[in-house]
């Protein structure tokens, strides 16, 4: 008896062909494929690196462009702001030049400097002023011109006021005494009617105005509460809930337009009549009649 396992394996072994060439070829093919895959991976990595580099460069360009845009926007914004400031300064120049006192000189100097930087030339400003004085500003003015309108209005009003003053002075020269009496009497009458004060107080008002060298009263009006709420009136104690204040615009003997404030402060049955002037020192313009 022969051992089946031993004999069978021996026989199988004899039949085995040499497979080494096939195996070696397969290994070489695998190694070649492996190398190619590695190269592909390297290429992919290089490509990714290049793409990353492109992206970084692109981001850099975008960031640069954004920075330039931001810079440009900042410059334009500042330029626009400066332009507005210049225009405002320029628009205020004419008024300030006409009404500047020594104390206001630095402000006028600033306005002049700003005017130099403004886009408007002096000639254009004058033209605009003239156009406002001719009452054409509402239709023909640009935005810049609109900003300058209040100042122009002031200048025009002053010009008109001067013209009117000349007329008043001429009339006052003819019949000054009558004019004073009539105006003061009129004002006293108005205030008396409005405040229910007596004839005695009306006489006092007339006396005050006469003492102020008032020639003509151009306007008299009761001042609104919000004006009296201002710091100036409040700090000087001229206003409380029992006070009525009247604004008086008048022409004095010198032909100057002056503003007076008359107010009547009531305290129970008694009342205090006071007069103050806006444009002159307080002590010179307060008259107390108690």
């Amino acid at each position: 008896m022969k051992a089946l396992e031993t004999e069978y394996k021996k026989q199988i072994s004899l039949d085995i062909p040499d497979l080494w060439d096939r195996i070696e070829a397969g290994v070489d093919e695998y190694e070649a494929t492996k190398t190619t895959e590695a190269e592909v991976k390297v290429v992919d990595i290089d490509r990714k690196k290049k793409n990353n580099k492109k992206i970084i460069v692109m981001i850099g360009k975008i960031a640069g462009a954004a920075a330039c845009m931001l810079l440009a926007a900042t410059v334009i914004f500042n330029f626009g702001t400066r332009k507005n400031a210049s225009i405002k300064a320029d628009s205020g120049m004419a008024f300030m030049a006409n009404s500047t006192t020594c104390e206001e000189a630095p402000a006028a100097e600033y306005a002049a400097e700003a005017a130099e930087e403004a886009y408007w030339t002096d000639e254009e400003a004058v033209e605009c002023e003239e156009s406002v004085a001719a009452d054409t500003a509402g239709t023909a003015m640009t935005e810049t011109a609109e900003e300058t309108a209040p100042a122009m209005d002031n200048a025009a009003a002053k010009e008109a006021s001067e013209v009117k003053t000349a007329d008043v002075l001429n009339e006052a020269a003819k019949d000054s005494a009558v004019s004073i009496n009539a105006d003061t009497a009129e004002m006293a009458s108005i205030i008396a009617d409005d405040t229910a004060c007596g004839e005695q107080e009306a006489a006092k008002i007339a006396a005050i105005l006469a003492d102020c060298d008032v020639v003509t009263i151009t306007e008299i009006s009761r001042l609104p509460v919000e004006i009296m709420d201002s710091d100036w009136y409040m700090s000087n104690g001229y206003w409380n809930i029992n006070t009525d204040v009247y604004g008086v615009n008048a022409i004095d003997v010198n032909g100057d337009s002056v503003d007076y404030g008359l107010y009547i402060e009531r305290n129970g049955d008694s009342s205090t009549l006071k007069a103050i002037g806006k444009d002159k020192p307080y002590k010179d313009l307060v008259y107390e009649n108690q």
Binding site: M1, K2, A3, L4, E5, E7, Y8, K9, Q11, I12, S13, D15, I16, P17, L19, W20, R22, I23, E24, G26, V27, Y30, E31
Partner: protein, 185 residues
Amino acid sequence: MTEEAFSLSVSKILAGDKTGLREIYDAYLAYIYQIVYGVVGRKEDAEDITSEFFIKFWQQADKYKAGSGHKGYLATMARNMAIDHLRKHKREILDDFTANDEDDVSSIKEPVSEDNTEAQVVEDISLQEALDKLKPEEKQIVDMKVLSEMTFAEIARLLNIPMGTVTWRYREAIKKLRRYGYEGT
């Protein structure tokens, strides 16, 4: 091949040196081929799978862990490759078995009655001639058991037949081979 020698060969493979693979090839070609042949049962398929086995070992040499018993590792790997092949080409192989079976039916000599010659050698023939006397399904089980060193359970699982059928067929095959002078275990 000792464990140390095998590990050294693996190290060469990992270093890209083909002499390491050659050493393993020389030592275990027959062993691997037998295992594969025992499963697939066809010479051409066994050659292909054996070649693929060594190429795959070259590719996956890093997965081998020294000290785990390299011969068992190689046998398991070769057997699994052969089984995979068998599963992929099961229909073709079964058809071949059927054809061989039909061809063999006419050529098979009627065995002598068991009553008279069960323990006697009736004919002194070569092993190959003796194996050819077996039915295809019997030879397949003998190959798997003897060459591939598979257990009956593994064979039953692989062929998807009851283990009792496997053992009965194996026993029948061994009886026949014994009559021709080959003693199986």
